[in-house]
Structures are given as structure tokens and as C-alpha cells.
Symmetry: D3
Subunit: 325 residues, 6 copies
């Protein structure tokens, strides 16, 4: 068993309850010696929630997820891979934000994200914040991959997030994917939304997906055999660059009480983690985990779930790399 | 897509976090112009909990469920029906109550319920309060339908609620259905209790059901294929007037911590909502959702589940009407 | 003892835990017969929190304060006055809001407020929302009183709220009074801020008050005898129209955990209520109670304190009217 | 320093977080060898809350207070007395209760209480439960002292509790003292109510006290020098048998969030404990601490305060006995 | 239906919310008349948490589980057995503990446990406390059964608990089974660990099981059909003395937020209780339920689940005895 | 107004809710350019709680206090000093810890602390952890000042912390000062303990103070005029090196619910901060703030109070330096 590529604090003197907090106890990006090879993934936070339509507070999400991530371990028994052995990882801190001027703020987040680590090598895992920040991380990811063909998108969520505008604002948390499609960042025909559930505002909310070719799998459909649709998606997408976005409200309020627009009848944590694991094989080039709202969380369980969802993203990439070598 | 029959506040200026609270943001019954056709369903609260045997506090249930219901939307993706397009809905406020004299209080609730809206047209959805209030709403529903044959009863609960008396009180929350049967309001042979689970006080608790023909499906049996018993129930009941009663403690404490007699091993929210949806086709003439205890709730998840269970009741009626036309 | 001018629901059948929620169980303004004399005070909510600089969530404040206000009673033993006998009161619902475009939203709130009840008679008590909404209610109050001389301002707060702009936004919750002074709505020389405490961002935060003549009483100074400054203020202001603004964070986090920018070392609830009572005699023409953030509240104590602070405002007016007759 | 008269578990092997729970870790009354001298005080619970007018749940109060009392220590630094050295103490368990039939239940509580320990020697400290249980403990205390002259009553509370009836019920938690006076158990002219505060329902709530000679000290009056009224009361009562009743809602919601009818502007814990200590010298013959509602408590602070209030009662008796010897 | 062998307090006068607390309301072992036959099972607590590696606080676990157990009933509908009819049960209080010197403390616990009831008849059910206490109860159980062949072990947990030492301590909560195997108390080849899940610290954590023949079923494997492995285990173990250990963190944080090392993706309560029930037929000679951490619990749901898990252990033995007769 | 000596992140792009967390948003000590002058104060955490006698969990205290400290501002209005202008400050991270072997762990903490920054210049502010860590920080502080005469000690606490040993352990949280005195680190005759309150275990707990000359001011004495004793202490100590230790449980549970041994009747936050401010003028050479237990905290209020208590320590030194120049 090899040396780990990502070094953590020595747990004999710095237990998991000790030390300044970074995601997963990974080193700060600024502390990774520049002579080293660039890190494979940089985790960064976007403490921004001005895109919300109901409960605000996800601006405190990155802090809560980082704190819960102190208990993350490294070896995935399900994938038989040690994430820290395969990947070099770092925490890049938080993007610049202000609560006002959504478009400008998201542009600033995208600019920050474009410069993290080695743009040609380092992949980005963003911690929200509300779902509008996915638009910024998607843009940065797309740009860092040359800005060519739009990305495929695997989307776990209770909501479609393809509303054109709310209160006249086009960059809120109900709209990230409609914007990303408009800008050529995401290919709607290779977009798969898993976990959607009602009630919706109106039936018209489904029009965008139908008209643009987005595939929707409701939570009920997933349970009744939706995994085959994911397999079909994987076959169709193949090795194309794919982005993975996880809205924690895809989990039921019992598992994710700390979120802004909770949706009853959602996934158990086992269903969510299991579904992510099924994405094994995709060529993930970026990801986000969003909508953790600590003020409504209880006993940190939402943040803990989000931290583990983020871990599963890294594990997907680690197992893909392990398998390829 | 037609005009909605139930008008909500304009969400552009009155977002879901704004406005005086009514169930689902539906109009107050008193505000529905009398010249209009009578509303199809009236939701009303029964802030009463003197029937409890363990934790009190469900008197605050109607208030909590109404508040959680602000986030209810209208279109059921599972049934492909927009509840607000098909149904005219209103909130009739709370029934008169006092914590003393259970029988008299429940009589007063039934009297109040009898007079809501148009007795020959408007159906009643009661929000508890403890389960004893089902007795009152059942009586009112039966009376409004002419008081003839007893109603069929579909019952989601962890408990049987057919105990004769507790501490000498015959109208507590363990007894609503034994009373309803005695008074010819419910037909025990067309009563189906889903989600029952142990431990029970004694095996004798099962005698009433056995002796009177009530069908019991335990939570374990439901998971192992109980849906077929519901199908059989639907075939047997056909178009007969049926009442639906949902004790929120049928859901596991992880999903419904805010309840008075929590029962471990209960349904997930997906199991509960899915089971209600399977009742599609029944001729529902009244319903209740009971036993929400806000003081034990966390992050409003119990109230949110109860609000959505109530929505599913309305959706069942909406889809039946849609299908019939 | 006379008939009460404000009728509440009959508590024998509608106990305090029953009924649709309005502030203090007062009638909805729309339900007060138009033939009646106009109400003396209208309470309304402003569910808006886009002005915050730290924790958002006060958009849910009006709802929480109304719910806590169900336990308000009417007779002030300290002032020997029954508020419901002296005043006719109503709840005017919530102002229109959206989370974006602060200035436009506050303009909309002011427009709404200008039209409530009888503009020449009815006084306005606004429930926040964050403190930026005071700017809107101040403007409406000033306009309804003819728009002449600026109002005197009595201000309970841990913070000065005279910052010019934060993140470039000039209408946030740190700026309502600088804006109100600029627009001639408030007279800074007759503005008294009680309960200010450190640490402040920089000493420069005090410049505005020094340069414009605002009187500051820190929490420590208040305890050491600040009441005399309030007496001096009352003598100076005399019968001039005065507005009272109460930021609940003037109370210590032990009393008001549910607020956005908690300030340690604040008033006890007895100190706060006692200080408000000392304002007896002022000619109050409008008021607000702001910054209740329910997601951080515990056991409703912040909302309960805010509801009682609002009651004390009404009691001040009631006792002034009683004394004058 | 003498041997302690009350033996606790050995804290070297049974720390405060270990062992079956009794109040203060005192022995169960049934375990005190009958050959011993009778215990000086027996603590017992009354898990009953059907007397409440707002939030129920105080039936779980005795259990919570006992649990919080595990951290009670024995030596009062303020009185310089070790309670366990002076007094023999025991926990007598809970009185029989049912949630129905208030009068009969309270009669049953009184009957149970009459029989505890040695009726001619053992004093009773009851843990509520709602305040209606004071009526039962008062009756038992009066009877055990021969049933002659009515007792003097020292009363800490936010509320007067001299309402004749609520919802027609004459034995609720708003009425214990009116009943006790009617039955000759309490002498209203030697009844002192400390901590009363508004708002009250109506001014008429004060009539009973005025007409019957009850002395009222509001919370504001207490802070402004009410201790002198307590001194005067002590002088007037002298050595007459006196009962002490403590409604935990006399403390502010910041200190006692876990109570049924919280009253803003109440005592700090230091004010409450200090006030009880001032009662030193009175001839206490019985007491109660009531209205702890665990479901609304946070971090056990209400129960902890109640446990310490109960301790102060015992300390008053211990110091009186110590001083007399 | 026969007389119950275990007598509970009369619920007509001592409802479930009344009375001094023992597990399940069973009699204290000291109160069971010595002339009686020895009790079949004694429940005892081990309020000790110095073995933890992350969050401490399980020392308060026995108290919380006992309190939650007040709502336990007796008749298992799933097994059709009344536990109180078949078994005589008692609560033996808490073992002696101190937070220091883990090995000595656990030795003391084992010594205490060896002496409970009739060592040749009474079986022991220990309530933790952290998982290190299983080592003590295992040793006592083994000794009481003659100390011969090592016990078979059925183990529900998210973690393997076969780490040699943490911070140099060999008796912490990650090590109970490695110690028990070393001492000949447990046979690793007849040890089945169900519910294991990642991430683990390193792949090397699996070495012990592989090298010693422990069978591991991950949570994912269990859902995919692990019950057959349990059947195979039962066939292999036959009638041999078997110990059952349940770490509550095998349940997902949504069901067991109150635990020290929560593990995302765990069992639902229905999965956990169902899995325990499948152990029917094993010759259980001792058991424990551990790792309840009340300070992180919400609405008592973790404690409630633990109490019911303990009940299921008793039900397993009751149904085995019933079936044999 | 001068340039600040301690640079914080730019709040325009890194608001207080953004960025990796350090105490007060101060730079990490490792990031302060070595060419700079040494920092004046280094804050470090000691995530250790194996010294507790009741509730554990303070190991998570440093993390919680750092998070609450994000809202700290810089200008003390009470002292008229800007801490960041006068002092250069940094966060040195956490000391090495393990939960076992208290003495060795505390030795390791002291060793770590001895090496922080410039031992001849940088002062140490330790964040607990339980109070036993004061022993380690005291030793390091004493050593860094040459190890000569014992330090004077100003001590805010509800407890004396001069117990010789608990469960045989001499380095627990009840014993730091008895050890520090024994080792010549603290001079008991210049030790002042403020806020002590009962009940105590026994009167003998006072013997140590009496026999060694420690001055005790109870909470009651403080309120009745204890400030004069502090003045006398300051006069007596003069310019001698003085250490300040603050156990957050000196504040009442209403203000500090999140602590391990809460003590009823404690200081309000205003009393605590005011008392610290009165220490102005002392020559502080080190300090600690301890016993924050996040799992029992509500709405972060305990952590917020602790962060502000730490700020007041820095302000004391800043104002002393400002005054001297």
C-alpha cells in the first residue's frame, strides 16, 4: 500500500476534533509547495445565498460542511479505493462574494474559480451556498477545459432549477442550468436530473426539460428502477467531460433538515450515496454540493451528509483513475 | 391550461414567506365571495390535545401545519394534476375547543364542522390535534352525507386506536374508531389500518379488530407487499363514501419526531406519501391529518410532512375528478 | 370599566392556541367594518431581510412575532392601562416585498404603508424584517403626518445603523437612519440611540453621530444612569412627533438569540421593557420592532420578547391618551 | 464537621452522571430503614398538567427536575450550611395521577401526600406539574399540621393564580390559591405574591387580591426595593407555619424557557435565588416548585434552575434549624 | 392469557410519564423479593465514555435510554410474544465507573456484572456508554457461562471495532472485540459484523477480519441480500452461546443523530429492527446497546431507537423460550 | 487614525461569513512573515476535555469559539481603543492533545505553548478545552517570563478549582490552581477568585483558599460591591505579571448553557464583561477562556460570549499599551 499523495495532520497529536478547519483536513492550497505537481482537486466554498426563494442562510454552508468533514475518512469500502492515495487534494478557501448584485457576484466567483491551482489540471469541487453558485463553477469548469463543447450534466435535486427568472432575477437558485445552457456551458440533451419530485408550482415547470431534451427521473421513478436510465446516460455520455451537481435537498428532510427548500419524500442518505456511486466511470471534470443551511440543521446531520456526498465525488474520480492505470 | 379555481396571493409581491397564514395560502372561507360556487374542500384546525395518553402539545399542531404549508405547491407530478385548477379550496379556521370535557368538546367540534361551507358539497379536511378529533370530523362528514350507511375508513397509523377507554375516558385518542363504529359512522368491515406496529400493550389489543372485521396491515407486512391488500380494499369499497385518516406517527420518528406517541420502525416519508397515492380512485368524502406536536418537532420536518400528507389527500380527489370528466 | 374598543376572539371557544394568527389576535384590518372609526394603530409585517450583513432569515420574523403574540394580554400593570379599551387595533398583513433591488422594495413597502387604514389617523407599527425596513416605515409615517419637519427618533439598538454603505449598497440594515436623515425624515439632533455597545468596526463609526448631533447612550452608560438622558430627550422633544424603533438585538443574546447580529452584554428583557416604559409621554406617531430571526431562536423567546416590546409601544400610546382625557 | 444525615451514593464509583435517578441523589423513601428517625423532608413529583391554559407538557417536569438535580451539591456558601448534615431527606416518588377529572386527581394527590413518611414530622416538597398541584400539596401540608389556622403563603410567580375558573374548570393552574383560601388552607391576608408582572388579561384580575388582602409585589417593584415588603411580611408572619410556592415562570424566559406561560421581563436566576434566600427565618412547613415544561426547555437550564430553587427551600429550613440549635 | 411474570407499575395511577425511572419500568433488581426465582434478564447501565475517539458524552446514555424506555410496551406483534409474560426482568442500576484508567474501570464493570442476580441464570443486557463497555459485559457473560469456549458474536455496527489501539490506549471503543478475541471470550470465526460502511481510515482496517475469520456484511451488502449471510451464520452457530452487540451508529444519523461517530448511509430503524428480528433462534446469553450520546440527540429519537433495540433483544429470547416450551 | 497592525481579510470580498476560520479572522501565525516583528498575542486552542467531572465535550470548544469569533469587531467603545491598531495578533492553531494520560498531555500542551512565536515577546491566550488546560498555559506563560516569582492570578469562575484530586486524578479540571501553586507558578496570596457560588460539595472545599491566602468573592458579594476587592487586588499586585483565567461557567446558564458544570445564579454577560474591563491596568502576561461545550450550546451564545471575553482580554492589554505611550 503506497504513500498517500495527500498528507493529513498526524491524528496522534491532532485528532479529528483538533486543528484549524479545512475541508477533509486537506492542506490549504496556499500551503501546498509550489514545486509539487498541481493538486488534482481543489475544494472551495461559495458562501452566498442571495439566490434563494424561500429560506436564506446557505451562506454559512461552506463553514458547516468543512466542520462536518473533519470526520471524513479516506478509504471507500464500496469502491475499494483510498482517495488520499490516488488524489492530491487541497482546500482553496472561499470565493469572493457579496450579497448584492447576483450576476456580478457570480461572475466574480467564476473569475476566482478560473484561477485556482493549475487551470489545466486541477478540478474544482464547489461547496455552496445556494444552487445559483453552480452556474459560476460550471462556467469556470467549462472555461478551464477549453470552453469548447458544452458539458454533460448529472444533476441530483428535488427541483428542476430551470426557471427563467424569479422576481425578475435571472441568476437565482432556480435558474442556474437555464443560464448555463443558454451560454453553451451545459448540453441539455446530455443533462440528467435525478430525484425530482412534486408538488411543483405548475405543470409548465416541466416545459423547459421537454422542449430542450433534459431527462428527468423523479424520486419515485428512481426507486422503481431509475438506475437503468443512469446507465443509459453513462453509455450515451461516454468519456465526455461531465459535471456533477448535488443539491442536498434531494435527500429527505429527515436526512437534510438544514436546507432552504426542503422537499418531502426525498432520498434516504443510502439512496443518495448509492446513486452517486452508480455514476462510476463518468469523466467528471467538476462538481458542487449545495444548499446546506446550518441554521436549520440538527445535530450536524445535513452537513455530514453533504461532506460525504462530496467525498463520493472524489471517490468516483479516484476509482476511475485507479481503474485506468 | 386553465385558470386556477383557487386563487393564491401573488407570489411576486407576497412570497411564500409573506402574508397572514392560512393552510396552503388558500383563501379564508369567510373571504370567498358567497355568490361563488361553494368550495370543494374546506381545511380546518382542531387545536385540541386532551385526548393524549403520553406527550401533550398537539393543540399547537394546526398552527404549525399551516405554517409549514406555506411551501406547498400545486402540481402533483406523480398524479399529473394541478390541485388548484381542479378544486376550489379554503381555510375555515379552527373549531371551537376547550381542554376539558372531551365528549362535549368533540360534540362542539362536530357541530362546528357540520356547518362549514355548503354541507351538501364541501368536503372537510381536519388538522389535529390529537387523534380523538377524527371522531368529530367523522361524525360531521357522515352527517353531511346524509347520515346513512357507515363510511369506509382508510387508516394510516402506528396504533390501532380501538381501545375502549383509558383512565375511564372513552373519547381519548386511543378510542376514536371504536366510538365511530358504535355510532354507526364507520363500518369496521370496511376499515383498513395500515402501518400498525409493535410493541403493543398486550395481545388483547388485537381482539377488537379480529372480532369486528377490521383489516390490519403492519408496517412490516406493508413493506413485504401490503399494497395488494390496499388494492383488494379498493375493489371491495368501490365507489362507497370513504374517509381517510392519517396519524403522522405512522411515519418513523426520524421523519416525524414531533408527535405524541412516536413509534420506532415506521414509514419513511416516501413510503407514506406513496401509500396515500395508491389510494387513488377511492371516493374520499372527508379526511384528517393528526398528532403533530410542534414542541417536539425539529426544523419543522413533522409539520412539513403533515402538510404534504394533507396535500396528497386533496390530490387524490383532484385526480379522481379529473379522470371522471 | 368600559367596553373594549378592540374585540378579540372569545377565549372560551378560541383559546390563545386556536384560530388563524394575527398580531395580538387583533382583527385583520380588512375585517374591521368600514363604517367604524378608523383604527388607531395598524400592525403590519415586512418579511424582508436582504439588508443584512451577517445572518439572514429575518424575513420569517413577522410570522414568528405574530405567533408569539398570541399570548399577549391587554392590561399593563405598570402603566395601569388596558390597551384594548383605549385603542382600536388591527393587523394589516404584510407589505409587498421581493428579496432583490433593496431601494425599490423599500419604496414599495413605503407606498403600501402610506395607504394603510386612514392615513390621517391610523398609526403604523411595523414588524421586521431587518432594520432597513425602518427606513420605509419612517418615510410612510413622515408622509402621513404631512411630510413637514423631520421626526424625532428614539432608537433602541446595539448598533448605530448610520453606516453610509456596505458592499456598495446604501439601503441595507446598517444605513436606515443615515438615509432617513438625508431625506429630511429624521432630525439627527433629536435622535437618541440607547444600548449601543462595542466592539465596533472602527472608531470612525462614531463620526456620523458626533458630526450630526445624534445622542448615543451605551449599554454601560444606560445602566450607570442613562435614564436621565432619556428624560432630557423627552423634555427637549416635548410634544413633537416621535418615532420609536426597536432592534431586538439591543437585548443580550441570552434574551434574543434569534437575531442576525447578536451583541454580547446587551439589555435584559426587564431593562429593555423598563426603558421603553420610561418613554411614557412622548408623542409617538409610528414605530417598528425588527431583526427577529426565527431560525436562530430558541423556545420562541426572541419572538416573545419582540411581541412584548411591540405591546409596550401600544401601551405608551394608550397611557398617553388615557392621561390626556 | 459532622456525619451527614442524608447519605448519597459514593461519587467515587457512582459519579453524578451514574445511577438510577432520584431527586438530589437522595435515597428513595422506601429504602430508608423504617427503624430510622423519620425523614425531615420528602420530595415527591406530581406529573400532571391538565390544569394548564396554554402550553401543556409539565407532566414531564418531575422527571426533568430530578435529572437536573443530579448536579446539586450540599453546602450553601450563602447560608453557610450543609443541607445533608442538618436534614434527613428522601425522594417519595410520584403521586398517582390521571389527566382527567382535575378535582378528583388533585384529591388523590392530596391523599397520597397525606400519607408520605411521618405525617407529624416529615415536610413535603412537591415538584410539578402545573401550578394546580400546589392546591393538593397545600391541603396535605395543612392537614398534616393539624388542619387548624390557615397557612401563611409566600408566592413567587409572574401570575396571580387567583382566577375563579377557566373554561368552567375551577381547579386549573390559574386557581390554586383561590381554592386554598376558600377551604381555609391559606390565609389571604398573610399571602405575599412576588414577581407579578403584566400584561394581565384585565385590570379585574387584581380585584381578588385587593378584596381579600393579598399583598402583591410586581417584578418592577421588587427590583426597586421590594425586599422591604418581604421583611415586613416576615415580621408579620413570625413563626407561623408558612408555605412557599415557586412557579418557575417568575424567572424570565431567558432563564426558564421551559415553562407553559412564559412572562417577559422576569427575574434573573440570581434575583430569584436571592429572593428565596431572603425568606430565611420563616417557619416553612411545605413547599413546591412547579411549571417546568421540558419540551420547551433548552440545554436543561429551566430544570436546573428549578432544582436549585428546590435546594434553596431545603437550605432555608436547614439554616433555620442550625441557627436554632 | 397468563399472568405477567414481570410486574409494572399500575398505569391507571402511574402513567408512563410518572414514577421514578427504571429501564422499561421494570422493578429494580434490589426490589425483587429474594425468595423469588432469579430474574431472567437484568438490564444495567455503564455510564462511561472515556473510550471514544471523537465526540464524548455517551456517559449520559444509560439515563437517556431508560427515560425513553418508559414508552416501551410488551407485546411484540412481529414475534407474537409478550415479553413480560415470558420473562422476569429487572433493572440492576449502573456499574461503578470512573472516567480514568480505562482498563481498571472496565475490570470494575466486569466484576460488578459478574455479581448481578443469579450468575448461573440471569442474563445481562448492558446499556452504554461507549462501545468499549461491550468488552466488560462480554467478559462477565463469558465468565458466568463457565468461561469455556469463546462466545459467538453477532455485531451490528457501522465500524469494525477491531483496531488494536488508539493514542496508545488498547481498551478504547475501537478495540473491544480485538481484546475479547485475545482473551478467548469471543471466537472471531463465529463473529458476524453487519452494517459496516465506509469511508474507513485505511484499507488495512479490514486486515484483522480477513486474518482472523470475522465475517463482514456492509450496509450495501445487507440491503442487496445480506440476510442470507445471517441465516448461514445462524446455521453455523446453532445452539452455541451467542452474544449480541448493537452500536446505535449502525443506524443512519437521521435515525440516530445522538451518537459519537455518526456514519452516513446507515440503516433505517425498520432495517435495524428487522435485522435484529431475523436473529430469532439464536441462543442469546448476553447483549448490549451502546453509543447513545444524548447531547447530540434530537427529540429523544436516538434513545427511543436504542430502547426498542434493547426490547428486540429481550423479544428474541422470549420467543425462543416460548417456542421451546 | 493609524494603519492597523493586524490585517484582516478584506470584508468587501470576504465577509464575516466567508473564509477559512481563524480566531477573530486574525492571520495564522505561520502566515505572518518571519521578518516582521513578533506578534504581541498568539491565540491557540486546546481541544481537550478529559479533565471534566460531569459533562464532557469541551474538546470541541476551540472550534466553536473560533467560529463565533468571526463576528468580533476591533474597536472597544468602553476602553476607546482599537485592538487591531495597537496589537499584532495571530492564531497559532491547536496544541497537540490526546484524550488519555492527562499529565503527559498537559505537559505536551505546555511544551507546544512554550515554543509559540517569540517566547520573550508573544503572549499566549489559550482557548479551552476544560479548565485543566489553564495549568498548561500557566506553566508555559511562567516559563516564558523567566520562571521566577509565581504569577498573580485573576480568576473568574463559579468554582474554586482547588480540589486536590478527583477519582485519583490530580490534573483534572477541578485542580489546575492547586497544581500551579504547588509548582511555584501561581502565588495563592495574589490569587483572586471572582464569581464563586454554591452549592459546594462540602464546606471543606473552602479550606484550601483559607489556608493558602486565596481571596474569594462570591457572585453575591460581587454584586453587593465586590469591585472594591478587585481594586484592592490591583493595588496590591501593581505591575507584577498577572494571568487572567476565565471559566465561562461564571456566567449564568442562561448566558452560557454550553458548558460542562453549569452553575445557577451566575453573572449576566454584562456583569462578566464589565468585571473584566475593571481589570484595566493589570500587567497581563497570559490568559485563557475555557469550558465552552458546543453540544450543549444554543444558538452559539456561549461561544459568542467566550469570544467576546477573549476580546476583552486583548482590549485590556491594548488599552494598557495605549495609555503607557
Amino acid at each position: 500500500m503506497g504513500q498517500r499523495r495527500t498528507q493529513l495532520p498526524d491524528s496522534r497529536t491532532t485528532p479529528r476534533f483538533a486543528g484549524l478547519v479545512t475541508f477533509g483536513r486537506y492542506p490549504r492550497l496556499a500551503d501546498v509547495a509550489p514545486a509539487c505537481a498541481p493538486v488534482d482537486w481543489a475544494v472551495y466554498g461559495v458562501p452566498y445565498d442571495s439566490g434563494v426563494t424561500y429560506r436564506p442562510g446557505a451562506r454559512f454552508g461552506p463553514r458547516a460542511v468543512r466542520e462536518a468533514s473533519q470526520y471524513l475518512k479516506a478509504y471507500s469500502i464500496e469502491h475499494d479505493v483510498d482517495v488520499l492515495e490516488v488524489l492530491s487534494l487541497a482546500d482553496a478557501g472561499d470565493a469572493p462574494v457579496s450579497p448584492y448584485h447576483p450576476k456580478q457576484t457570480l461572475d466574480g466567483v467564476a473569475d476566482f474559480a478560473c484561477e485556482i491551482g493549475d487551470p489545466t489540471h486541477t478540478k474544482l469541487l464547489a461547496l455552496g451556498g445556494d444552487h445559483s453558485i453552480a452556474y459560476a463553477n460550471l462556467r469556470a469548469t467549462h472555461a478551464r477545459h477549453g470552453g469548447g463543447s458544452p458539458l454533460a450534466l448529472l444533476h441530483f435535486d428535488s427541483h428542476l432549477d430551470t426557471v427563467d427568472a424569479v422576481w425578475g432575477e435571472r441568476y437565482g437558485h432556480a435558474s442556474p442550468f437555464i443560464r448555463a445552457v443558454e451560454e453553451g456551458v451545459v448540453d441539455p440533451k446530455r443533462m440528467l436530473s435525478i430525484g425530482i419530485k412534486g408538488p411543483l408550482n405548475t405543470k409548465r415547470d416541466l416545459d423547459y426539460a421537454r422542449d430542450h431534451g433534459v431527462t428527468i427521473v423523479t424520486a419515485e421513478q428512481w426507486r422503481a428502477g431509475g438506475a437503468s436510465i443512469l446507465d443509459e446516460f453513462k453509455a450515451r455520455v461516454g468519456d465526455a467531460p461531465t459535471y456533477l451537481t448535488i443539491d442536498i435537498d434531494v435527500a429527505d428532510p429527515a436526512y437534510a433538515p438544514g436546507t432552504g427548500t426542503p422537499s418531502v419524500g426525498g432520498f434516504t442518505s443510502a439512496e443518495l450515496l448509492g446513486a452517486i456511486r452508480l455514476a462510476r466511470g463518468l469523466n467528471l471534470v467538476g462538481a458542487d454540493v449545495v444548499e446546506v443551511l446550518p441554521a436549520m440543521d440538527v445535530a450536524e446531520i445535513t452537513a455530514l451528509l453533504a461532506a460525504h456526498a462530496a467525498f463520493e465525488v472524489l471517490a468516483l474520480d479516484a476509482v476511475r483513475r485507479s481503474t485506468q492505470h
